[in-house]
Amino acid sequence: MVENHPSQASKFKCEVKNLNFYYGSVRVLKDINLSVFSHQVTALIGPSGCGKTTLLRCFNRMHDLYPGNRYTGEIELDKINILAPWIDPIEVRMRIGMVFQKPNPFPKSIYENVAYGLRVRGQSQRSAIDETVEQALRNAALWDEVKDRLYDLAFNLSGGQQQRLCIARALATNPEMILFDEPTSALDPIATASIEELITQLKEKVTILIVTHSMQQAARISDRTAFMYLGEIIEFDRTQTIFSDPTHRKTQDYVNGRFG
């Protein structure tokens, strides 16, 4: 898979090195090492409470918003440690987008939702915003459904459309990587299928890291899968290997539905 992208300078978009994360004094992530391959979908799976969402939220430093959180170790984005204290988390979030578990469009129009990232970056040129909004909505496979009602409130969209709108919002600012936090857990099977198809297409443009509660989803859309348990990565390999021939007993038990 990696070999399909020879133009890529490095095959790793992100490398996590000995990452530990603490909520107050509780160590939630333990010595995480993980390589996120460029232009691939990497899935994080594991039972509830294993730390997969916590790990995901380290990548755009969402934990910085709340007091008492602490990281040790490194996450390198193109060889630069984004957890370093001198790195501005806002700059990190401008390069790494995020899509949440529950669709969370802003209480604004469809257009303004997609334009939000441009506006916070100080872009005010109308024609440029128009163009980017259209492109982002096309890339999120939503344009045809909303082009006649761009100024309607985003809440009038269905759940699946809202989630695609959130993907368009993340795409509009041209991120290098997008984090998905269980993006389909609030959606019905049809909307889920369309989001999954979208994610598969998007890896042409961006690197994707996805947390999923569904092993089938990980099997369907990801190239690599990391199995997490109690704050540790038990096993990380090609998705096919994880599901058909895992090395660890724990992984095998989990993917075969024996616990979790």
Partner: protein, 309 residues
Amino acid sequence: MSEKYLKLSPTIHLAPRIIRNLRERIVELLLLGAAISSIATTIGILGILIYESFSFFQQVSIIKFLTDTEWSPLFENPRYGVVPLVSGTLVTTVVALSLAIPLGTIAAIYLSEFASPKLREIAKPCLEILAGIPTVVYGYFAYLFVTPLLQIPLPDLPGSNMLSAGLVMGIMIIPYVSSISEDAMRAVPVHLREGSYAMGATRLQTALRVVFPAAISGISAAYILGISRAVGETMIVAIAAGLQPILTWNPMEEAATITAYIVGVTQGDLPHGSLEYQTIFAAGLVLVLMTLVFNILGHFLTKRYREVY
């Protein structure tokens, strides 16, 4: 009825349905009574206002009342133009709001989006104390402290003036505006904030572009409450703005508000049922109608600009 009900499961022991229903019904009636009592009070107040004003307007034409620019019901040649009282009320209200709305909103944004939980725990009650100070204290604060202070840069300012009364009234209203606005902003779901932060927005951008618009309906409710408080405020204006019904739109002059007139005139002995006595109710009715108009206006504005989440 009761002999017909089917015992589905012998292990579930319930009170007979008829007693249960009766109990529910009594509680419901009690609750209804409590709800009605407040509505009944409002209707009662409005009823008396309208009833007494009605006999007033039989002697003074409504047109005269609304257009005459002089209010001197206690003089030998009485005139009954309510405009000077309305102007006094509006000027003090505008002065108060131009202080309370910006400061109250800024305080709310700060407390909700920027302050640490510890600071908020201290600052919020402190701010709310402002609302608990008796208004008579505010009145003398305006008259004896703020007015002399304002007279340093404005030496021509009279001892009683609407500027000082309005400013102090604004200080009194800040906690109403900030407290309710802050509640409205804190009620904005955290996933909207995180969505904004994840897009690379700063705290300020998140506060102004996402949280504030999402909370606008609660925030306008706070503003409307502030307006109602300002329009109805009595002691501060009676003490610091004077009791002379003068038609002026200049806040640096003395003028009586509707409430100040009512409190001033009730201090004298007015024969029950006289025309002078009825002026109180006519003025009171105007006051209620003004508040009502602001409330309705606010309601529609809120609906128009609401961003539902």
